[in-house]
Amino acid sequence: MPDRTLPRFEVVGHSETKVDAYALVTGKPVFVEDSDIAGSLHIAFLTSPHPHARIVEIDTSRAEALPGVVLILTHENTPTRRYTTAGQGYPEPSPYDARMFDSRVRFVGDRVAAVAAETLEIARAAVRLIDVRYEMLPAVLSIDAALAVGAPVIHDEDDATGIHDAARNTVSVVKVDVGDIEAGFAGSATVVETVCETQYAQHAPIEPHVVQGYLDNDGRLVLVSSTQVPFHARRIVSMVLDLPLYRVRVIKPRIGGGFGVKQEILLEDVVGLVTMRTGRPSLAVLSRPEEFYASRTRHPMRVRVKLGAGDDGVLHSVDMEVISNTGAYGSHALTVMSNVGSKTLPLYNKAPNVRFDGKTVYTNMPVGGAYRGYGATQGYFALETAMDELAGELGMDPVELRRRNHIQVGETSPIFEAIGEGKAGVEQTVKSCELEQCIDIGAERIGWDAKRGARRRDGSWAHGVGMSIHMQGSGIADVDMAAATIKMNDDGSFNLLIGATDLGTGSDTILGQIAAEVLGVPLVKIVVYSSDTDMTPFDTGAYASSTTYVSGNAVRLAAEQVRDQILEVASAMLDEEAASLRIGSERVTVATGESVTLEDVGLRALYATDQVQIGATASYVGAESPPPFLASFAEVAVDTETGQVKIIEYVAVADCGVPINPAAAEGQVEGAVANGIGYALTEEMLISDHGRVRNPTFFDYKIPAAPDLPRIQAILVDSYEPTGPMGAKSIAEIGINAPMPTIANAIYDAVGVRLRTTPFTPERVLDALEGIQQNG
């Protein structure tokens, strides 16, 4: 345990009930599609059946003739400006390579036309009546095909910008070289090299993308959207539709999960244009198959890691090479690839020599995007597989190898500064790291010492244990900005207005808890309203694990200003210096015990003397991005006859600083680990030779259900991040990175085979087992 006393909090650090829990548990109509706006048009899409083709002719006459069809949009009647669908800060580090509708389609699922009609049935029927003549173009359906000499060029249009080398299908490149990598290998006692290939996977929020648009009474465009990035959505829609930004309002109500896929502007532009052109409300919802093949995915990657270490296990050189497949458009292409290195390499900062060589390529395949973990997921699979191999070569306990190499408090890594997000990163020193505690607790819980290498058999089932360690970040330093506004009411309650975006993560609640803590009131006295571009201050949005840290610090700063204003008023009321006053239990108190209530203060400020609205707006930009840490342990059983892998036990121990709401923080780890287990074992978008997603349903794309999972044990250790709000760091993403390497390492412990291609389906496991028998 750390030898210090953590601060004591009244509201923070308690598992307060989520502010939206009652509305959600009673099924109130709080989601986008629940609003039933009278007279709303329904929008359906025609998407490309071909991976790469030019539209020679598009004839909508038969569709237009269908009664109930109101508007059809194609490349012939829509804005042609190129943009990126990635909802990132401006200017976006993703290339402007997409059009609302293009005369060229680049993947199976690319948008060809949209029909707005009186009912969804009519819109869908009309879609089938649109006649399109395509001229086929040769398609690029793998990383190797994209990089081959003479490969078809996917983005040869002359109005695209921000592409590194379009002629070679290369969207982005990042190269970093620290120290002398080859000299490090030359001086190493042991060198291992591993190449891992990860698959296409989808976020699968249970609520698909959905946007409802309408015009308000002043003719302004209102978009109610299941988005993670309302402010970016407003900016991008205004740009694409050439509408003044002040004529657009984006509101995010409750949304049914995001996981990164809703950091993308996929429907807002079309709904906006339909509503602007027709003057009528309009609604677009992706079907589940469209969600799979036409929205966004986790970038598949090939990652090579080479490690060199001395006899003592201390790393001399770490070399990582990444090729990421972004599919047809470069959404998040540069930044996800950068994060493969920037979120993993600093973890092992003992190596003086580090090289990172990353590139992202276009293919005529489904489009990559932001997905919880954001590149770190793919990077950690390769890095933590290689670390396990290195431990094996050295004859060292994998736990011990990690202990000798991981970053500690007071240390830094050159990678923090070397790799940023579209620009240089930010130098930082780690100020909180309880990874040792995480490893100790996890190893003890799983029974590491007794089970590792024991090769327990149970009929055809072979048991094994595996582990891995991780770090992430808390927001994008020097880029992400969040603001919060707090105003005081007559009764001593407060309105908290935040641009931050709660995706179900509980951020409205924890941001409310931070305000309540500073203002000395229970959480019920903080009325939280978020994510409405007309009503709340700016926030970059919910991504990059930024909300608790960046938005949380903005709330803390705003609350501190409001507290000072309250003390000022109370000082006049109590005739005491403000500095000698304490706020707490909904009162302002003098050392002698004399006090006034916050209601007294509120009433006086609004109605009586020196009248003033007590309130403040504060902004925050992270000067650094403190990493949360996690140690992950699993016991698996591998059926040597069928190749099936079962997770017997899973323990994830996290350092997220002070958890503002422990139940919510545990929930983030549990959910992320569950998603990561699916990614490791079953989830894979199967792509046909023709570039078509073959399994776009929940029946064929298997995400974990309750019986598929062990009871995931999420444990939060005591920790305190000095730069965080009330000592907090992020937690939402890190857990998803852990299962793939942890399970791969456990399979190795159980049956002695290394799986480097994902997911670990029974077929792949059996193939690997047979490979051993043949070789052995």
Binding site: T26, F31, I206, G257, G504, G506, A663, F698, A714
Partner: protein, 159 residues
């Protein structure tokens, strides 16, 4: 002619006009039961689960006309005298609600389970939730909430 069907939704009899081929899901949402969610339309996610004559079904897989004359219960009908159903309260207390999109379906499956197995094991609860997909929680706190409800209800019957 549009078929008209009789449904008793949360104890209230209604006569409802339906379109040909319409599902129970569509009818219920149009009748204002927005707790019934569309997650897949293929019977694979459980977000649209309701109790049909007391048993959990995926309403996206039931033709509206097939529900003619039956009782349908949705989460809108769970509260009594302004009090949450104990399983709703248990979900809130356990921190089992993240985005909440799957929650109504989970409640329906949980209530269905306890109606015929009042004292389930943890594995039985997980099995009962096998048709409900949740992408946010990892199911840990949802399973705990259902087990807590069973304990609470057993306590009430013993007393």
């Amino acid at each position: 002619m549009k078929p008209t069907i009789a449904l008793t939704i949360n104890g209230i009899q209604r006569s409802v006009e339906t379109e040909l081929g319409e599902t129970l899901l569509e009818v219920l949402r149009r009748e204002g039961m927005k707790s019934v969610k569309l997650g897949c339309d293929t019977g694979d996610c459980g977000a649209c689960a309701v109790l049909l004559d007391g048993s959990a079904v995926n309403s996206c897989m039931v033709l509206a006309v097939a529900a003619d004359g039956k009782d349908v219960d949705t989460v809108e009908g769970l509260e009594h005298d302004g009090h949450l159903h104990p399983m709703q309260q248990a979900m809130v207390d356990a921190g089992a609600v993240q985005c909440g999109f799957c929650t109504p379906g989970i409640l329906v499956s949980g209530i269905d389970l306890l109606s015929h197995n009042p004292d389930p094991t943890e594995d039985e609860v997980k099995e009962a939730l096998g048709g409900n997909l949740c992408r946010c929680t990892g199911y840990v706190k949802q399973v705990d909430a259902i087990l807590a409800t069973a304990r609470l209800q057993a306590g009430e019957t013993d007393a």
